[in-house]
Amino acid sequence: MRITAGPLTELSPLQVHAVYKLRVDVFVHEQACTYAEIDDTDALPTTVHICAWSGTELLGTARLFPVGEAWQFGRFCLVPAARGTGVAREIMAKALSLSAGREMLLDAQAPLVPYYEAYGFRAYGPLFDDAGVPHQPMRRART
């Protein structure tokens, strides 16, 4: 498995297709949510798309982008075949190393709060509803 991290323009056309397709398949179709999955943040030069590849096949992805002094983490998803295989841990490890020295923020889907706690994130503020899915803001202190 190979992990890449960089702005959208460092991905090839077929890689952009794979990343956006996986995200729409998971967050729109699988989770039955008609929100604006692909947004302007994706194309900003400061946004980092983290991808896990097996050869040319995408296994999982996540993105990081700056919000003030912090890094916001999100759009974290895996292809069904890669779930429970340790790929998620590799993607998260890359995100944590890229964020070294900065606070990290994320909005956890509510059932995943304990998952992110294991990586040092702590809940703050109230649960909120994002397009019908309850989310918990979490942050991880600067390391």
Partner: protein
């Protein structure tokens, strides 16, 4: 407005063009039309598929006006050119370019699949629009994603 059309295979587009194309489709067919479907498909990257991208050359950066896609398909045992994912961006709406867009899409289909009939599944309110551009209804209307759709064909001449 000075409309400019690009016809391209997916893998010849830039990352920004792909972003604009897939974002517009998701904004329209997922969010606006409220249909949680797998809008981005493997057929998008097939070497035989072509994507139409419309831009307004009169402004910088060039506003992205709309898109359409043609793919290799089969209807009742014969090969056809299938148009779909036809949509206008907010910047492209109310500008009168919808006719230019469908004409460019038809030309793309003729050039990509010479001699084939062109088919599409028209969203019901657009049947009259496609009729004005030479399409005829065939077969039964059906519902997909909460929207009534009518198969239409433009016969090869």
């Amino acid at each position: 407005m000075n409309t400019f059309f690009i016809v391209s295979r997916f893998f010849d587009l830039s990352a920004y063009e792909i972003h604009a194309l897939l974002k517009l489709r998701a904004d329209v067919f997922v969010t606006e039309q409220g249909w949680a479907h797998t809008d981005i498909e493997d057929v998008d990257i097939e070497g035989t598929s072509r994507h139409l991208l419309a831009y307004d050359l009169s402004e910088r950066p060039m506003p992205f006006l709309g898109t359409a896609r043609v793919i290799d398909a089969e209807v009742e045992g014969r090969r056809v050119a299938k148009l779909g994912r036809i949509c206008l961006s907010p910047a492209g709406r109310g500008t009168g370019i919808s006719s230019e867009l469908i004409e460019a899409a038809v030309n793309m289909a003729w050039e990509t699949f010479p001699g084939r009939d062109i088919v599409l599944d028209a969203q019901a309110p657009l049947v009259d629009f496609y009729t004005r551009h030479g399409f005829e209804t065939y077969g039964e209307a059906f519902e997909l994603g909460g929207i009534r759709r009518q198969p239409m064909v433009l016969a090869a001449t």
